[in-house]
């Protein structure tokens, strides 16, 4: 019964996540995940790292059994290798989900960058997955070896190759598990100092050994719970003890590293990062590992399982933190995984992976030389037909398949119905709020059409002339033909604040030129110092063809104005830019107010001055 309920739940998860997966590939990462430019790696990476550490049980137990030849542990070998195989398979599967261009996943085979930790990870995963397949293949082949002589041959060959495969696998695992840490050695800028470490590769390796040991203990208890398998208590107790030693090693390396880098002060910081650190270290790692040293705790099945589970959760938290949670405060990201990200993660790893695990343990001898506690699984006990209807309730395989597919289809349909709009039709743009009309901050204005432009600080003018009510001062001057606004309306007094004309420099230059009274050069005596009595700058041979006279720092640019020499009058420019289009749309939409100025601008600013 337990098996059936768990399977039905898992099939439901798989159904839901397959729909989510389809959406992810159809509409892209932006529409289905909350990943963004600040946080391009999210939940998936964290879980991937946590899951692959779980898989480290494969090489750890393989080393114990085949290299150190502790024969007692042999009954754990196959299940450990299976955990490894599934862990790595789903590492690759989730990588395919996460990659932007997943059909290019083979690229590292031909395009090499020996400096990249990810390149090393890619190669190690490829090779180690192959090794794991070869290590596990005998379990499958052994059942079918009588069917065809080729199977038998393959079985014998693989058996003969066990030791080289195990040694190769260990070397690959050591490299790969640690280089998953190396991935983060290049991110001191992204991680909080409590979690960044230049020797993160060492930490990852130590923690993966602990995770692997914990995984075997947890898996044994899950198998016990689901299939009533006998627990190899004494072996698991020994593993629990080893587990606690590895956790101590991890804690020691971690604290030593923090001390040597002088970052211990962050430990006492009452911040998100400090809390994360203590949560991971105290209740999830240190306390369980202390308890595991206690014989009485180890001999209690419940306590042993709880402690091992706590350590596994602790290291999973560590991985997820390194890959994401520790980056929150340094980058200020607002990333939180989307529902679809969660669903895909759940559907793939507990979902598909556990279903494959259940299929393999039910059909092949993964738990070799072990007798089930109960000869018959409870769910296989013959059921009486329902006394009222005379119907058999779900004992036959067909019935079970029918139930599972029902759950699967229902979950898939439900998910499809609940998919967010973006996941179906692609990401939608953020609607830009209607803003008050706003020119560029800086314009090039060629006021006198002389081909020389000044940079006109639009924003400065807006600010100094009265903010929102200032537009009309220039753009709707009540002048005949309302054409444009010569700057001299305001800048006629050369002493006014303006950076287009430096009075002192002009006076100084003219004085140096020895032209007598420098004022008189521009302001003829007796005519008053007004704009209309002063010659234009280009007149009288001053600035015509003598560009060198323009001082550095002057805002008069020497380039030809790049815009059309005859710019449209301000009114025309504004009205053609906005009003023409708005009137057109107003007619199209049948909404006349769409074309009226006051609809967007608010009447006062247009009527000012």
């Amino acid at each position: 019964m337990r098996v059936r309920v768990v399977k039905a739940l898992l099939w439901g998860l798989v159904g839901a996540s397959l729909v989510a997966l389809a959406a992810r590939f159809a509409t892209g990462l932006g529409a289905t995940t909350n990943l963004n430019d600040v946080t391009p790696w999210g939940l998936w990476i964290g879980l991937k790292l946590a899951g692959v550490a779980f898989a480290a049980g494969g090489f750890t137990i393989a080393a114990v059994v085949y290299v150190f030849q502790l024969e007692r542990y042999h009954i754990l070998a196959r299940r450990a290798v299976l955990i490894g195989l599934l862990g790595y398979t789903f590492f690759v599967v989730s990588l395919i989900v996460d990659l932007g261009i997943p059909w290019n996943i083979w690229r590292p085979v031909f395009f090499w960058n020996l400096h990249s930790p990810l390149f090393e990870v890619a190669w190690c995963v490829m090779l180690y997955l192959t090794v794991l397949l070869l290590e596990f293949a005998p379990v499958v082949l052994e059942k079918h070896r009588t069917v065809w002589v080729g199977f038998d041959l393959a079985y014998r060959t693989l058996k003969w190759l066990t030791i080289p495969l195990v040694v190769f696998g260990i070397a690959l695992s050591v490299l790969h598990q640690s280089s998953l840490g190396t991935l983060f050695a290049i991110m001191p800028h992204r991680q909080h100092p409590l979690f960044y470490s230049p020797i993160v590769n060492v930490l990852f390796f130590v923690s993966c050994v602990a995770m692997g040991l914990g995984a075997v203990i947890v898996e044994s208890h899950v198998a016990h719970f689901l299939y009533r398998r006998r627990l190899s208590d004494s072996l698991l107790q020994n593993l629990g003890r080893a587990l606690s030693l590895v956790v101590w090693l991890f804690v020691a390396v971690r604290l030593a590293d923090l001390t040597l880098r002088g970052d211990l002060r962050y430990l006492l910081e009452p911040s998100w990062n400090g809390v994360l650190f203590w949560l991971e270290m105290l209740p999830l790692l240190i306390v369980p590992s202390v308890f595991l040293q206690w014989r009485r705790v180890r001999t209690s099945r419940t306590l042993l399982a709880t402690m091992a589970f706590a350590v596994v959760v602790g290291f999973m938290l560590n991985r997820v933190t390194v890959a994401g949670l520790a980056m929150i405060s340094p980058t200020g990201t607002n990333y939180f995984p989307s529902g679809l990200e969660l669903l895909i993660s759940l559907g793939l790893v507990p979902g598909v992976a556990v279903l494959i695990w259940m299929f393999l343990v039910e059909n092949y001898e993964v738990w070799e030389r072990e007798a089930a506690l109960d000869a018959e699984d409870a769910s296989r006990a013959p059921l009486e037909p329902d006394p009222v209807s005379g119907v058999w309730l779900g004992d036959s395989t067909l019935d079970r398949f029918r139930q599972y597919s029902l759950v699967f289809v229902l979950a898939a349909a439900l998910t499809f119905g609940l998919l967010p709009r973006d996941a179906l039709f692609g990401a939608t743009a953020v609607p830009a709020p209607v803003q008050r009309p706003r020119g560029r901050e800086v314009l090039l204005v060629d006021g006198d059409r002389a081909g020389l432009a000044v940079t006109f600080k639009h924003q400065v003018h807006i600010d100094s002339l009265g903010k929102d009510s200032s537009c009309a001062l220039c753009h709707h001057m009540v002048l005949p033909f309302d054409q444009d606004t010569p700057c001299w309306h305001c800048h006629r007094d050369m002493w006014s604040p303006s950076d287009i004309f430096d009075h002192d420099v002009h006076a100084a230059v003219l004085e140096d030129a020895g032209a007598g009274d420098p004022c008189a050069a521009c302001h003829p005596a007796g005519e008053g110092k007004r704009a209309d009595t002063t010659p234009l700058c280009a007149a009288d041979g001053c600035h015509v063809g003598r560009r060198a006279l323009v001082q550095t720092g002057s805002r008069v640019t020497l380039e030809e104005a790049e815009r059309p020499r005859h710019a449209a009058g301000y009114m025309d420019a504004m009205h053609e830019l906005c009003i023409a289009c708005h009137r057109e749309r107003a007619a199209e939409l049948g909404r006349p107010r769409h074309g009226e100025c006051a609809t967007c601008h608010g009447a006062p600013s247009m009527e000012g001055s």
């Binding site: 892209g28 430019d37 030849q69 690229r107 020996l114 990249s116 930790p117 290049i186 901050e441 090039l444």
Partner: protein, 277 residues
């Protein structure tokens, strides 16, 4: 001789002409604003942007083209490449979309086409292709700047000299008389002069970026890889052989003893190689 761009924020007037030119030359087209678009203006459709700071100060944002770029160092397939001329360029035909470059860049420059189901990394390439093809003489942004606030210099040394000359000419104007990018993360090809602290352009809330190139840390670790591989293999094979040998010897001794004592050999005969189940 590597290309460099010198951006002087005291000269920038925030006219955005560099952005327009960049869009035109790189054919970036109109930008659709998606929910994930960052405040800083860079996105899958914008290689450069002008940040508006307080008091009419503007900072033009673009790829720094580090001398030892973290992005190129971590790309597992080498889709990002540091060219001998200086620009860091991107080969979309090799990319597999792992986004490690985005994670490694200390300035958060590479952006992703999140909206696409076939997304690529997008970042400034200093108009490398157009310049090497001879279509334009210098990057579009520097050519477009009306204030010469951002200038292209054919060699980084010359750019540094120019920057030092400007600092010397206007003492007290520039923040700490510092050339941003001269030493950080091993030096960058895009240099900044500014009258305000530009530290906020990189993620360094807890620790400064430092002058050591980012890839140095990973390179140190990666250098140990071949040794680790050989070491672990030899160690494991050796351990296997030693234990195996000792078990054989022990078994032989026990047989001998058994023969002399006339008793049965105790439990634990040497297992066969491979541990036949």
């Amino acid at each position: 001789m590597s290309w460099a761009i010198l951006t002087d924020t005291t000269r920038c007037v925030g006219c955005d002409r560099c952005v327009d030119a960049c869009v035109e030359v790189n054919r970036l087209g109109d930008e659709t604003r998606y929910p994930w678009r960052e405040e800083d203006g860079l996105s899958g459709a914008r290689f450069c942007s002008v940040l508006r700071l307080r008091d009419y100060r503007y900072v033009r944002l673009q790829c720094r083209h580090c001398l030892e770029p973290a992005c190129a160092a971590v790309c597992p397939v080498g889709a990002l490449e540091k060219t001998p001329e200086g620009p860091v360029v991107y080969h979309p035909d090799i990319c597999m979309g792992c986004r490690y470059c985005m994670m490694a860049c200390p300035y958060g420059i590479p952006r992703y086409q999140w909206e696409s189901s076939v997304p690529y990394i997008r970042k400034c390439t200093m108009c490398f292709d157009a310049v090497t093809r001879g279509e334009i003489e210098q990057p579009a942004c520097t050519a477009a700047c009306p204030e010469k606030a951002t200038v292209f210099v054919a060699s980084r040394e010359a750019a540094l000299e120019e920057a030092r000359a400007r600092i010397a000419a206007r003492p007290g104007l520039y923040f700490e008389d510092r050339i941003w990018g001269e030493h950080e993360v091993g030096g960058t090809s895009v240099l900044y002069l500014s009258d305000v602290d530009l530290g906020f352009l990189a993620w360094q809330r807890y620790k400064p970026l430092g002058d050591e190139p980012f890839p140095a840390t990973t390179n140190r670790i990666m250098a140990t890889v071949p040794g680790t591989f050989v070491g672990v293999s030899v160690l494991m094979a050796g351990t296997f052989w030693v234990i195996r040998r000792r078990q054989e010897v022990m078994a032989a001794e026990q047989r001998e003893q058994g023969a002399t004592d006339g008793s049965q050999p105790s439990s634990g005969p040497a297992p066969k190689a491979g541990g036949e189940p």
